[in-house]
Amino acid sequence: MRTSLTFADVACVRGGRLLFEDIGFALGPGDAALVSGPNGAGKSSLIRIAAGLLAPAAGRVAGEGARALLAESAALDPELGVAAALRFWARIDGRAEAVMPALEAVGLGELAQVPVRLLSTGQRRRAALARVVASGAPVWLLDEPANGLDAASVRMLEDLIAGHRREGGIALVATHLPIALPDAVAVTL
């Protein structure tokens, strides 16, 4: 099975308003796409279409390989420790052992026992990113992954995406902040 993610002439209509149309790209192993555009252009909608959470108004989305989503909200139990909250999802993915390495990778290894509600915005973002890393899914869908991250964390994010691509993964990244994605397909809305 070859990892892939393909958009063909995809259009998105939200609330009766056309956000974008004729969006097409094809990503294979090691590829990345950087979705950019002004606020409200439909970056998040495009990510949600790629995740299968929204149906495109026109066009076709196809792909091979499990997808992991980093959305606006962390979806982590605020009362649990970071590691325990991540383990809930990792168990569903059948990769409970991947939680601690993922936490180390995003620089939260020392906060593993701290309840999610006590994390700062940037730390919560990194915890949600750790779920994507721990999932082992070949297709990463990242919606504004750099929001709330400091400069060092943005570099860590870039390194994580680069490492994921070296291993044959795909990354679809929507952001209004500058993230270095070498050789990424530019998707401008």
């Binding site: 949600r48 959470l53 989503l69 959305a71 979806a75 982590l76 569903i92």
Partner: protein, 194 residues
């Protein structure tokens, strides 16, 4: 989780103040009072059953992992039932004592609640999914859920009064709700994403 149970007991305590402490009257209406109180108690947590998970993206994360929305709703239904039905049955014993119900009347009430509460839980999940994210969700939940709960109330109260066939009809209604509501809730969750 214990709030609906406390509410249920409060209704059982308040009712004799409203109709007077005459033992015969209480024994006659007690079964119906317990059923009505159980229905209202089941309504209390509905607002918090689905909405928090929809807001925090938990339902989206389930969907991305390929879990069907109806399956998630069915799991929530089971969890909701486990969270409130056993405690409700225990509280019913206390409420029956407060209403001065004879022991012989308690057994059909408990049996009826055991059969009917899965239906109530199913209805609660479907309602919660329908009203998730809406303004005034709590009040709306009552308007949506209570009319559909009328058959459970009728047959439940009938069963506690010893009417023939009421248990079977109660079971039928409860089964129908348990089978259908997860699908309704799943569809509501999907539509909520748009």
């Amino acid at each position: 989780m214990l709030m609906p149970i406390a509410f249920f007991l409060l209704v059982a305590i308040l009712f004799p103040f409203a109709v007077g402490p005459e033992a015969r009257l209480l024994a006659r209406v007690g079964g119906g009072v317990i059923w009505a109180a159980a229905l209202l108690a089941a309504l209390l947590p509905v607002e918090r059953l689905v909405a928090p998970d929809a807001e925090s993206g938990v339902l989206d994360q389930f969907a991305v992992r390929g879990l069907p929305d109806a399956g998630v709703a069915a799991a929530k239904m089971l969890g909701h039932w486990l969270g409130f039905a056993p405690a409700l049955l225990v509280a019913t014993v206390i409420a029956a004592a407060l209403l001065h119900l004879p022991g012989s009347a308690l057994v059909p009430i408990l049996a009826g609640l055991a059969i009917g509460t899965p239906g109530l839980a199913a209805l609660g999940i479907a309602t919660a999914a329908l009203v998730a994210g809406l303004r005034g969700a709590g009040a709306l939940a009552g308007l949506v859920m209570l009319p559909f709960a009328v058959p459970l109330l009728i047959f439940g109260a009938g069963a506690s009064a010893g009417q023939p066939g009421a248990f079977k009809l109660l079971g039928a209604v409860s089964l129908l709700l348990v089978a259908g509501c997860p699908l309704v809730a799943g569809a509501a969750i999907r539509m909520g994403r748009n």
